[in-house]
């Protein structure tokens, strides 16, 4: 009897030890934009990284179109669901602070990806949006010879990332005083809306020498080729469709600035590191963008290397972030999380 008891105790202990080794963390995810290629890639990167890490037993995904109040609701629901960490793409920098604080007070690790939050208990891993706009705008203004007028096609009015990008764009404008804005529109990061707007601008006959876009890019090139209007230099993001056009459309001078949606995977990787007791030195980790232009050989080589016909044309082609994500290209395209 005694032996049996001891044996079962040993077995239980072994089972616990085994569990501790497998580290079955439960991760919650909150995202507030649905049906956008960038965000879909982000969610797939989160799933793929959770699967590839082998440390995640379950993913709990709240993924819908909503505002900061709705995202706070989602975060509180994830707290109720008992997750160990929450990776969130915040609706804005301040609006979900209260919900994040409630989570971190309960010992839940919170990592904000893509955009920053001002709640100090959260970790942040984000693309440097100000630098994103500055890099592309500076290249564009140089292509335009430092003078002329530019069509400024922004993202969504009022969005945090759009504001940061506006700062970067204005910084570049300040360095090129002879550049004027011909037209400033908000695409809402919607393909159809952006296409309509550029068609209107072309049809109006207004003169412009370059187009800067906040990532609604391939439809802009389409509008030029379809209408037969003379091409001007165009800056976009590293969306697969646009990067393909940079390599294939004759006479197009353009540059893609990387804005990897895979930063979501990096967020999951960071959350797991923190759960494993390896905290980063700084609470904020910035991923800096890179510019690939099709006017230099080095840029052309980068564009050629980034092509992958299996990717959705609205996905950014930089599907992984060296040093952070460990999944394979096939894993992110499959878009399957643990237990799926």
């Amino acid at each position: 009897m005694k032996r049996l008891l001891l044996g079962s105790v040993a077995l239980t202990l072994a089972a616990f030890a085994g569990m501790a080794d497998a580290k079955p963390w439960k991760i919650g995810i909150s995202n507030t934009v649905q049906g956008n290629g960038w965000r879909e890639e982000m969610v797939c990167a989160m799933k793929a990284q959770a699967l590839a890490s082998g440390e995640v037993s379950a993913l709990n995904i709240a993924h819908r179109n909503t505002d900061a109040a709705g995202q706070s609701e989602d975060i509180r629901n994830l707290i109720q669901a008992g997750v160990d960490a929450i990776v969130v793409n915040p609706a804005n920098a301040d609006g979900i602070n209260a919900a994040i604080k409630e989570a971190t007070d309960k010992g839940i690790v919170v990592v904000a990806v893509d955009q920053a939050v001002t709640e100090p208990s959260a970790y942040i891993i984000s693309n440097n949006q100000e630098e994103y706009a500055y890099l592309g705008a500076k290249w564009l203004f140089q292509q335009m010879g430092g003078k002329g007028s530019v069509v400024y096609m922004r993202g969504a009015a009022g969005a945090g990332a759009d504001n940061d990008r506006d700062k970067g764009f204005k910084k570049a404008m300040a360095e090129f005083p002879d550049i004027k804005i011909a037209s400033e529109v908000f695409t809402g990061w919607q393909q159809d809306q952006g296409k309509q707007q550029i068609n209107d601008i072309i049809a109006s006959g207004a003169k412009f020498d370059g187009v800067w876009t906040s990532g609604i890019d391939n439809v802009i090139v389409d509008a030029f080729t379809e209408s037969g209007a003379p091409l001007v230099p165009i800056v976009g993001a590293d969306n697969a469709g646009f990067v393909g056009q940079l390599a294939s459309v004759k006479g197009l001078k353009g540059a893609a600035v990387t804005n990897p949606g895979s930063v979501g995977g990096a967020g999951v990787a960071l959350a797991l590191q923190i759960l494993d007791g390896k905290k980063p030195a700084e609470k904020t980790v910035l991923v800096d963008p890179v510019l690939w232009d099709n006017t230099t050989d080095a840029g052309k080589a980068q564009i050629a290397a980034a092509q992958n016909p299996k990717l959705s044309p609205e996905w950014p082609v930089s599907v992984s972030i060296p040093g952070w994500t460990t999944y394979t290209m096939d894993q992110i395209i499959a878009c399957k999380g643990p237990g799926e």
């Binding site: 379950a58 709990n60 995904i61 909503t66 505002d67 900061a68 629901n77 804005n92 609006g95 209260a98």
Partner: protein, 324 residues
Amino acid sequence: MRRLLSDSGWTLGLAGLLAALLVMTKLIQPDFGVSGLDSLGRAALPFALATLGMAVVVIAGGIDLSLASMMAVCSVTAARMMEGASDGQSALALIFVLALGAAMGALNGALVVASRVPDIVVTLAMLFVWQGTALLILNAPGGAAAPWLRALGVGGLTLPLIPEALTVWLPRSVIFLMVCLAVIWLPIRRSPLGLRFYAIGSDALAAFRSGVPVGRTKIAAYAVTGLFAALGGIAVTMSTGIGEPIPGPYLLAAVAAVVLGGVVLGGGRGGLIGPILAVFVLRLVRMDLTLMSVDPNVTTIVEGAIMVVVVMLGGVLAMRGRRT
């Protein structure tokens, strides 16, 4: 009498559904308790206030598609005025925002009455007008909310002299909602004005022939909707601590909860308790689906399916009731 019974029957049915969902939530997540109820109340608050606003105008035979945009205008106005303001100034700012909401609503109503263009067209146009106005006031999320205002909607109820354990399960956000309902709607409902809302909603011509000033009543109904929209916008600011110029997903959610809550879209029938219960049902469904980690793309399908089934079931029951 039978009509009264069937109306309150719908509300009772919704209350039963809500209770069943609460039990289900407890089964899915055994830890569900005071903090869970608090989360639910806080999530429901802006939706509930938007729904109240929509319910009033629908009862009066209209519909206000600019509701969520008006909420955004009120949210950014409140957040901008409260930034760096003292407690007293913040209270004044809130009163101003409530008046602003009522005025925007009254303007919507006046345009509908004066132009004779259908409600749905006028308020659709105003949706864009208010949306632009909100962005003019604040072009990016920002501003602040007074700490005392934020505290109004957080945590459980505590009353002096009564043991905390008795009241703490009741979220303050729910009390806030009940106070808004009691202060605004109860006096109207019991006054001739409330009766006129129902009268012009069920038959505007008959109401006119009975001496009801249809135009003025309609404007009043839209003003009440604007007042609730202001409260909804303030609730968003309470929840987030900032003002948000881009309208949230409140318009369609409010229409959904109004229908689910037993208010007839043609006007003239229904109350405000049903729609509130419907809001809690819809929020709780969302919570349960998150707790069960259902595929997020399936979640909205489930939400929609539940609505259709409940409304159809209600229709069938109502028809049976009429036959007997």
